[in-house]
Symmetry: C7
Subunit: 91 residues, 7 copies
Amino acid sequence: MSLNIKPIADRVVVEAAPAETTTAGGIIIPDTAKEKPQQGTIVAVGNGKKDEPMTVKVGDTVLYGKYAGTEITYEGKEYLIMRESDIYAVI
Amino acid sequence: MSLNIKPIADRVVVEAAPAETTTAGGIIIPDTAKEKPQQGTIVAVGNGKKDEPMTVKVGDTVLYGKYAGTEITYEGKEYLIMRESDIYAVI
Amino acid sequence: MSLNIKPIADRVVVEAAPAETTTAGGIIIPDTAKEKPQQGTIVAVGNGKKDEPMTVKVGDTVLYGKYAGTEITYEGKEYLIMRESDIYAVI
Amino acid sequence: MSLNIKPIADRVVVEAAPAETTTAGGIIIPDTAKEKPQQGTIVAVGNGKKDEPMTVKVGDTVLYGKYAGTEITYEGKEYLIMRESDIYAVI
Amino acid sequence: MSLNIKPIADRVVVEAAPAETTTAGGIIIPDTAKEKPQQGTIVAVGNGKKDEPMTVKVGDTVLYGKYAGTEITYEGKEYLIMRESDIYAVI
Amino acid sequence: MSLNIKPIADRVVVEAAPAETTTAGGIIIPDTAKEKPQQGTIVAVGNGKKDEPMTVKVGDTVLYGKYAGTEITYEGKEYLIMRESDIYAVI
Amino acid sequence: MSLNIKPIADRVVVEAAPAETTTAGGIIIPDTAKEKPQQGTIVAVGNGKKDEPMTVKVGDTVLYGKYAGTEITYEGKEYLIMRESDIYAVI
């Protein structure tokens, strides 16, 4: 589940959980209406800032803000790269 | 009353108290007129920031600002995740 | 005069002095023209921030800025909750 | 010349010097054209911020910015309450 | 691969990877539609800020933000000069 | 050349050099076209900020930004009061 | 190459390299189209900020941002005065 990327400082790389494609009632949600997921799995972790070690680790499932991070494409797959402070909680 | 979420740093997860559904005089308040509650119960607490331990704990009833925190949905229920500094007081 | 609220960090709860209802000349001031009071009594005090103990205490009469603090309702009564730095002076 | 107010932290209370009522040539200046004075006398001084004692004292005549401070009314008289950093110089 | 430039403080000089000229399907992308690359190679590194040594080094392939850095022309060739904090990750 | 004003903290009082009244070619410049001078002489110096002694002294001729400082009138004469950091250089 | 100016703190005085007057192909560039140069030589250096000695010295050829610094005229010649942090690199 790890990724061969080394984020700088307090950054992490997150693989977003796939957006739901059907509603609770079974209706298929068109692409444009899909909510951007706010949950994902950490696949790479930086070394933290000076005197502030990281508290999340690779494999953690995390909640983050709707607009957190920057999308990067790595080996044809999309990831989010964000600062640890953009993460709300580990679930 | 606790929740299986681990907020990062100085964040807390709050379960908002239900908004009042009737006025003092007994009139039912329609959904759109309900005031967003500013009181809630803490259900999860982070580890605090470096050298600043948390002062609130799970179970505390707290007052917070009208627009404090971000709504998250966890196991079908809505919570607010906010920084401890968004909390005004423990009552 | 104290209140069963524990403000977080450097916050204080202030009970605002009632606005004047008559002018110096005895004319009754209508509600809409009443000036929001800038003077009040402290009814609850937080523990202060790290390494910065509070300098005001419960019972102090204080002056504060016109738009300082946030109104909270507690047991049917209105209070202001503000940071100690929003207080100008103890009189 | 002192005042029974205790400003918080690095604040001072200043009694503004009366605005000039005649021009150098003796013409009476109407109220609306009077320049807001930028000079005053310190009547109360706070304890300073942590590790930064105050450098002005009660009785000092000071120059300050045109829009420095907040007007407060105390015992029927107007004063300015400002931070020491709003004061330019002692004259 | 190194460059005879000494960036100041925590700055690095990056040689951007050439933008793709054909799509995955083989269509030639016109110049105006080319995406500004977000990947490059570090060709010069500053000494870091006081007490914060650099974590990237010459030769590292890095990912950076779309609008990171300033373009400079050196010996007829274009480079980007940016702060280390503008770099997201080493790949 | 000194002035009986004691600037607070890292402030200095500068007497601006008179603006040029004729062009290099001898044409008299009307008042409205005169450039605000950016050069002046220091006539009073504060004690500096905590742990940062002042580096300029009374009598220094200094260059400063076009809009640096605040004009004050003292004993009928105009001066500029500014922070030492608004001064570019001693010439 | 040195200049009799003593910049304050972390400022430096830079003599900008003359803008190119002909294109690579030999066409004369009119004044209005000349690019403001981004390269220059340092002619005066301040003493640095507290605990941060300067890393550039008089004689260094430096690259800096297009809008860095303030133009000053000294003995009939134009210079740029800027903070060391406005300099990108020494070449």
